[in-house]
Structure formats: structure tokens, C-alpha cells
Symmetry: C2
Subunit: 607 residues, 2 copies
Amino acid sequence: MTDEGVRVTFRPSGTEIAVPLGTSLLEAARRAGVQVEAVCGGQGICGKCAARLAGGRVTEATAAEEELLTPRQREAGYVLLCQRQALDDVELDTGPGETAGDRHAKDYCGETAFAVDPFVRKTFHRLDPPSLTDQRADLDRLGLAARVDVELAGRLPTLLRQAAFQVTSVVADDTLIAMEEGDTTGEAFGVAVDVGTTTVAAYLTDLARGRVLASGSAANGQAAYGADVITRITHTMETPDGLTQLQKLVRRTVDEIVVRLLAETGVPSDRVYMVTFVGNTVMTHLLLGITPRHIAATPFSPVFCRPMQGRCAELGLESVPGRAVWRTLPNVAGFVGADTVGVMLATGIHDRPGVWLAVDIGTNGEMVLNCHGRIYTCSTAAGPVFEGASVRQGMRAEPGAVYRVRLGEKADIGVIGDTAARGICGSGLIDAVAELVRLEAVNKNGRLKKTDLPPGCPAAVRERIVTDGTGTRFVLARDPEVALTQGDISQLQLAKAAIRAGIGILLAEAGVGASELDGILLAGAFGSNLDPVSLLGIGMLPPIDPARIRAVGNAAGVGAIMALLSREQFALAVDLARRVRHVELSADRRFNSEFAHWLVLEKQPGF
Amino acid sequence: MTDEGVRVTFRPSGTEIAVPLGTSLLEAARRAGVQVEAVCGGQGICGKCAARLAGGRVTEATAAEEELLTPRQREAGYVLLCQRQALDDVELDTGPGETAGDRHAKDYCGETAFAVDPFVRKTFHRLDPPSLTDQRADLDRLGLAARVDVELAGRLPTLLRQAAFQVTSVVADDTLIAMEEGDTTGEAFGVAVDVGTTTVAAYLTDLARGRVLASGSAANGQAAYGADVITRITHTMETPDGLTQLQKLVRRTVDEIVVRLLAETGVPSDRVYMVTFVGNTVMTHLLLGITPRHIAATPFSPVFCRPMQGRCAELGLESVPGRAVWRTLPNVAGFVGADTVGVMLATGIHDRPGVWLAVDIGTNGEMVLNCHGRIYTCSTAAGPVFEGASVRQGMRAEPGAVYRVRLGEKADIGVIGDTAARGICGSGLIDAVAELVRLEAVNKNGRLKKTDLPPGCPAAVRERIVTDGTGTRFVLARDPEVALTQGDISQLQLAKAAIRAGIGILLAEAGVGASELDGILLAGAFGSNLDPVSLLGIGMLPPIDPARIRAVGNAAGVGAIMALLSREQFALAVDLARRVRHVELSADRRFNSEFAHWLVLEKQPGF
């Protein structure tokens, strides 16, 4: 506490800021440039700006917190940043959270405003019982225009009489999907799911209030059959029942997360009426049990791009009622899926004036470029390096992972969970390579220099370059040793070149130069945790003021939430998927030379 | 053969007519007043005017016959009356056919014209295979706006490639229900089904050409659980799984008939896309597996009146593809069902100027009155007497049934199939009672006179009235004896009074007298076989010129065919069901006194 006010420190970044007494913690975070989620713009509605109070005193808990934080969160010291002000110097932990999965699912894309107008409508009916002067049939008495299937009609007479003719109807689109005793109009829930190749994230959403109640994630159960989409497709082609098997695995993953979210919030399963899915094109095919084999080979044509829908029983989902409706957002092409459409929705990139690029960095790098209203997409195969799969000591961003590397007179090596390092995750890999490039400890071809290190290279770096029988490596930690190998650097080089080539071709297709970019949006749980400076340092992104690079979190998942909550947003997604110009890089003559060009690891100007 | 031309004799009625050489047999039938089916108006399209040539020579078979008659029919000597002319005196058998069921199903309602515009649309797609410059998804390539479910989408990629991208889509309403290899647009079939309490009739229909290909019927498998709807309802309430059991039985009956029709015509089951059902309200509930229990007790409210729809798999139908769509026509009330709506469609009663009454005589007597555009309906419980169930030697109209009784100096007793009599069917019962009333051999209370017979009563009648230990009876045939008992007459009296009371109340409700009736339409397989004169003779119908009474055959079934073939007709059915004013007789103070009044069996003026 100073004369100017109070000091707020954000962990794990360590960013500090002094703000006047009475400033909300959210405002402090914004001023400090700390990325926090606040989909409602700080009105205490979305509950996404939760952070753990690690020290110091803040104002009292508010009613909004009572409602939006789980008891477990409140016990653990979580507060909503928008609801509190510091009473003296405070320390806040804004993540990374306990697990990469939790963090992934909590990522959010900033302020988005849209009308809540879900496909699911509940109506309370206070009916007169039949009499000799009013013999209307039970179903006609409800006065619904919706379609009613036989099974539900069959249960109606008993329900109506049990409920003394006071019932609530649930209509999804044009179909009656449930009838409930009494007035239950306030209880309407849906789930938005982002089916990632590596991680599945789900968001339990209150359809009546337009609010995400809980989110969670888990590793995609299909991972045992390959880290990337191509190996998954291969599995479906080579194994009898492989398709059914993979469908079952991802379905189980979804069920597992949803069961957890329901338990966490106390929402009864039978009040869930709709599930909206995004995912890449192969994932949406596998989820629906539809063969993705024709996506794997030229001309890479999927079975469906348009949005699909049905009842959850058809997909075999067990965590939600079989009658609940599911929908997928549309895909764009074989390698640009509904997740990218979700990113467009969430970022509103199509509406931004000027030239904007969104990149979803993962096993595939999907990109969207809005050049003055014309929208382009493409996708490049980056490989599983960012998920740590082809890195010798690679791991997901979980406790023990090296996630930050700063090399100066001392080596500053950040480890998730402040425990002993046991591996390296994607952001750590990129940081490390960016630092080695900046210090010219690797050459243009990506070879780690054993000798000829520039004179300015600090001792802390030199002593970490070790050569022995197994090759040359850069040691990040000892006991146990965690090191970056020459092979790891090469893997990153390939991935970086693929993504940079894709960006280059999109820009060329649109006829604009990189210098005209107004901003770059980094989507995806992974992209959001990367240091823009490091990304520029390895040349994965075109040169741009780092302040113009913005992480937008799991924008695909947010897009799914938006489409779950709003028919207008869903329709917009369908429109966007139709409007985009997809550039198929595998058919593009430019790709190979661009790729070769961007393999080079070069110290960037200004670094 | 005379100078005037040729003589055409119709069996079994024996009606004869002389017509000029070159007159079509259909025209001869019309002039003779013989009821034959000719939905296409004699253009050789509908194939319904088939009759068996029992003697004489006629012109050669035509191409239309080749197409419309089965080989079995042609071998048995069947011709289409509209296609042939007599070359000398001929004798034709227009029915009753081999079984009551066959005759039932072949009944038709005369000329009806409407546009063929079915819910099911087939479209041939000649598609370009995907290429690197055209990567559209398989499904998007079809360019269909219809909904597509996951299972069908899953089969699409293999089918498209097998079929070299030349496929036919089948869309019912707004949903894709099948995809077929090659161009199969010419093969589209549907089934119209009339689910009667006693008999189920089905019509296999060519949706592309708007033509009934074959029809058949069978006893409703539920009959073992009661002859009327009330005993069926009781069964569902008293037996666990009774509802499921009855649903299964009627489903099996439908399956049985459809399998037969498919075999007869060679139509492949997988080219059947739609099934349209009519039936009384209890039958439609049982068919759908929806409890009819609330129809049985005051206030008699059904679960649904509005049209229902779904996929055939939901009903458990096995004779048609599970993906085929079914629809029911709307019901009007608990005891005025979709079958009555079918009668309205088929007879166009709502469009007739003046005052028209349609009566569907069966276990329930359903009536429709159009009084200058206002339409009224009601229903009365006639009991199973017309089906022969409460008649001591009652039987259905099958070989061995006494179906016609004329009492004069000689007793003319007609037996179906010209075999020895073994029972009496509804038309025989009504004929017999009408004759006994005319001859004053029964008194007003319906007692068969043992003594006091009027002097004019022929000996042939007197000697047939027998009294012994078992009571008094009227003997119709000997060896074996077939006789009408006092109890049989009482049963008919009750049924007649119920129907006549219903008619009386409808007329009163509309504020018209019986004398203002422009015509009476007798619907139903049963009603069509009744002698209007006999119906007037027992006072079941209000006094009217018998020439104004017209049998319209199984109009309910024809209504189902019309609704199957035409969306406009289906929409009209929905509109009619909404427009009619239903008079609930059980709630009507007038009913008991009307009923008592009409119990009297009185010799009618002019008889």
C-alpha cells in the first residue's frame, strides 16, 4: 500500500500494478495487461473472471459470487475480479490452474455480446382439465404447433393428470422434446462442446439466463489411436469397427466431462435439452460415426460440411437425455472445421474493419484472414509438436512442465506448479527456441551451436549446451534433467514453417502484405498461452507490433456456446461457413516453396 | 344377343341390361345401376373396375389390363370393365368376391379427381465427383435443403462412390429418408391403411403415377380381445402390457397384408416410403401404442386428435423400411376418428350443396351431416350386430353367409358363394328383419309373431316361424339350419335405434328436417352392401327416396389413399377435422328419448 493506492500482483506472471483504492481487480488486471476472461464486460454475470486470492485483503464477497462460484471455488479462495476491490496490497493467482485441462476450459475470449435466443423454448401451460363441454384431446389442449413424437405423446395422458394439468413443454426447433410436471421454465440447460483432437472441452450453460455455469475438459479418449487426425483416420480404415470404436471413445470423453459438470453444479441431467458441438472436420465426422476416410486422401472431400443435427440417443450419449437435441456447427472443408467457424463467431473477425488474421495453433494450424470483408481460410499440418508429442521430453501443460524460458545472465525457467521440472510443454519449447535464436545459439538451419557461440552469449546459456554420445542438447533443468534436443528444435522448425507458409499464402491470396495486418488473434487453449514475442522471435508470425497480437482463448468453444445460446449466432455460423473462401494448400503450387523458405530460423529484426 | 344389342347380366345381383354393341361393360354396369369401382372415371388408370367374366365373349385384352391386373387375376378371367365391350350376351361376376376381406378392400367410392402431389419426392442427381477444384462435401454436393440424419449421412459416401455419383434422393416432408443408386425416380410407393375395429384394409399405391396397384384386407388381430373398442380398451387397462400386446397385434395385421400386397405386385419393400393411416380414434391410439383409456370414460378425451407422424420403425412395422414415414389423418373426437375424416375427403361431402348425410355403419355408427356448409358429426354405439358378433348364427360376409333375403310367395335366400348356408351376415339380417316388418310378422316391439300373422303373410314365411323349447326363430335355411332368433332381432333393434337417434339429433342440431335431405351416403364396406330399401324398411334411415341413397364403399380407405397421394388433400383433412362441429351424444339430453323413440319396428309408409 502506497500513497498512490494499492499494489496488485498477478501470479504466475508476476506482473504488478499500482491502482487507486476502490479500483476493481478486473480493472487492475486490464491496466496491467493481464489476460483475464470477462465475457460480460465486468458486470458480474458471466463468472469467468474468477481468480484465486493468494494474499492481502479485498472487499466482501458479493451476491454475484455466491451465485457464480461453486462452494469449492469459494473455499479455495476464488473471487470474481470484477466484484472485488483491494483493501491493501494483494496478490492474485490468475492461472495456470491446477491442470492444463481446467485452464483450457476456463479460457475465454473477452467481451462478446449477443441476444440469448436458444433453439430450446420452455412454456408453462396451466390447462383446464377435459370436461363434457371441452373434450379436446390432451395434445391439442396444449396448443403447441410443434411436432410430437409417439413416445412422448404416449406419456402425456398420465403426466397431465399427475400434474393436475399444469405442465411445462420443452420445444427444440419445431419438435416437442419433453413435458415436465409443474412450472420448470426456469430450468433449461445446454452443453457446448469443443471436440479437439487432443482435448475435449465442455461448457454447461444456462439457456434461460445465457450463462456458462461450469466448464471442464479431458483428454480425447481417441488419443490412444494416434495423436493426429491422420492416424485416427488410418485406424478407422485398418481396423474393423475402428470407426465405431473411435466414436465410442470420444462419446465417452464427452459423457465423462458432462457428468462431472452436472455433479459440480447440481444441474439434473434431465434438464439438459441441447448439446452443440464444434471440432475439426475429422473430429465431427468421428463423433457422428461417419467415415472421415475421404478426407485423408486427395481430393480430401468430407461427407458433410453443413450443420448436422439429431437426438442425443443417436450418438449414444448417456450423460444427457436421449431426447435432447444435438447440433454441429458447419465445417468449411476437410481440414477447416466447425471449430474454426466457432473461432470466427467468437472473435467476430468477419466484422472487424481492416485486415485481421486469426490463427488456431494446434496439431493443425487453421487460419482465418479477414481482408476488408473478404474472408479466407486455410489449414496446415503442424504436427503434434505443440502438444509435446514429437518432443523427446515433451508433455502437456501440466504441473512439472517447463512453460517459460528467459535466457539472460541468469536462466529464468518457469515450471507449472512450482515443482521440479519433469518435461517441457509447447510454450516452453517456443520460448526456449526463440531465446536460442535471439542469442544466436542456433544457426539458420536450426542447428544448436556447440562452438562459435557469439561473444555476447551469456555463460548461463553456454554451460547448458551439452554434447555427449546421444547428441547435442540444451539443458533446461537438472535432477532430473529436462533438456531440449536437436531433434526437438527441428520438429518446431517444421511446424513453424507450415504455419508461416499458410499465413503467407493467405496474405498473397488476399493480395495484402503482412505490414497491412491490423492484428493477429491467437485462438485455442494452446495459442493463448504462448508469448507473442517468442512467436515473433521464431518467425512463426509475420513481423507485427507484439501489442497487436491478442490471445482469445478457446474461441472455438466460445463460438459453440454462442451458437447454443442464440439462433441468430447459429445462423451466422452457417452463413460464415458458406461465405469463406477456402484455400486448399495441398492443391496450391506455392506451398512447397513457401514452406522451404520459412524453415529458416533467423534472428528477427528488433530482437 | 337381340336386335337392340347385347344383354349383360351382373352376378351375384342378377341385374340384367341390354346395351348397344360397342358399349363398354363399365357403361353397362352404370346404366344397370350396378355399383362398380372406377376411381379414374373409366380411363383404364385405376384398375378398380375389375370383374370376372363368367360367360360370353368380350373384346380383346388391352395394354391397360396387362399393366393393372395381376397374372393371377387374368388367369382367373378378370377383366377391366372399362376396357371391354361385349361381343355377345355376357355374364359378369362383380362380387361379392372370394372373401369378405377381398371385397371390402376392393370397394371404392366412385370418381374422385385430385392432383397427385405426395409428401414423398424423389430426385435424380447426376453429380460431379469431388476434385481438388471442387472439394464440396458429399452431402452438400446433393444440394438438398432437407434434413439428413446421421445414419443416412453415414451411408452416403460409400453409396455415392458405388453409384458413380448418380443417385436418387427420397425426401419425405423436409427429411431425406433414403438414397438410392441410379435413377429410381419412377419407383415410389406408399400404403394407405384403414384400421377398422374388425377389418384392416390396405392399399398399395404408386405415388409416382397416383394409382392403387393392389389392395387387401384381413381381420384385425386384436379381435381376440373383444369385438368392440370398449372391450379392447378394457383389455389395455386390466392386463399388464395389454396396450403393447394390442399394438403388436394390429401391427402384425398391417404387416401381413402389406407383405401380401408387395408379393402380389412385385413391388420391393424398400421402395415403400410412406404409410397413411385412418381408423377410429381408439384404433389410431392402439396402433400408436398410446393409451385410449381416457376415451372410455367421461369426458371421453383422447390423447391426440391432430395428425401424428413418425418413422415406421417407431411403430414396429416390419413390412416396410423403418425409415419410411407414417402419418395418421386427424381424429375429430373420442368416437369420431380419422376414418370419418377419410369419409369426408372421399365423398367430398363438405363441398356438396344442400343437405347431405354420410353414415358409416359399423360397431360404431359415425355420421357426418353437411347442412349448407356447416358440418356436424356424431357417433353412436351400434354394437357388433352388423359384424354378426351378437347374432346367434351371425358371421362375417364370407362364403356360406346368408346375405340377401326376399320373402314373397317363395323365400329367396341368397348365400355368398352359392354354397349351403352356414350363418347370417349383417346385410342378410337387415334384409330378413325388413321383410318380416314389411309382412308384419314382427310387431312394433320386435317380437316375432307366433300367431296373429296378417292374412296376407305368405305360407313360405309362416312355415319358417318355428317355436320350440329354445324359443321362437325364423328359419332361413335347413340342413344345416340357419335361423334368426328373437334375440337377434332385438340386437338389430338396439343398433338401429342408436343410429337413427344419432341421425335425428344431428338433424335437430342443424335445424333441418329429414325431408330436406338431398341424399344419404352409406360408407364402409358393410354399409355399401346393404340394400337401401331394407334400411328404410327397418327405419334405420329417415324416409327418403331410395334412389337418393348411395353406397360409397370403403370411403375411409379411399380418403387415406387421397391423403397419401396429395398434400393438399391431407391439409384439407386437417382443416375438415378442425371445422366440424362435434355433437357428443353421451352428453346430450336428447339422446335417451330419441333412442327409446326409434326402438319401435314399424312398417314404413310405402312399404
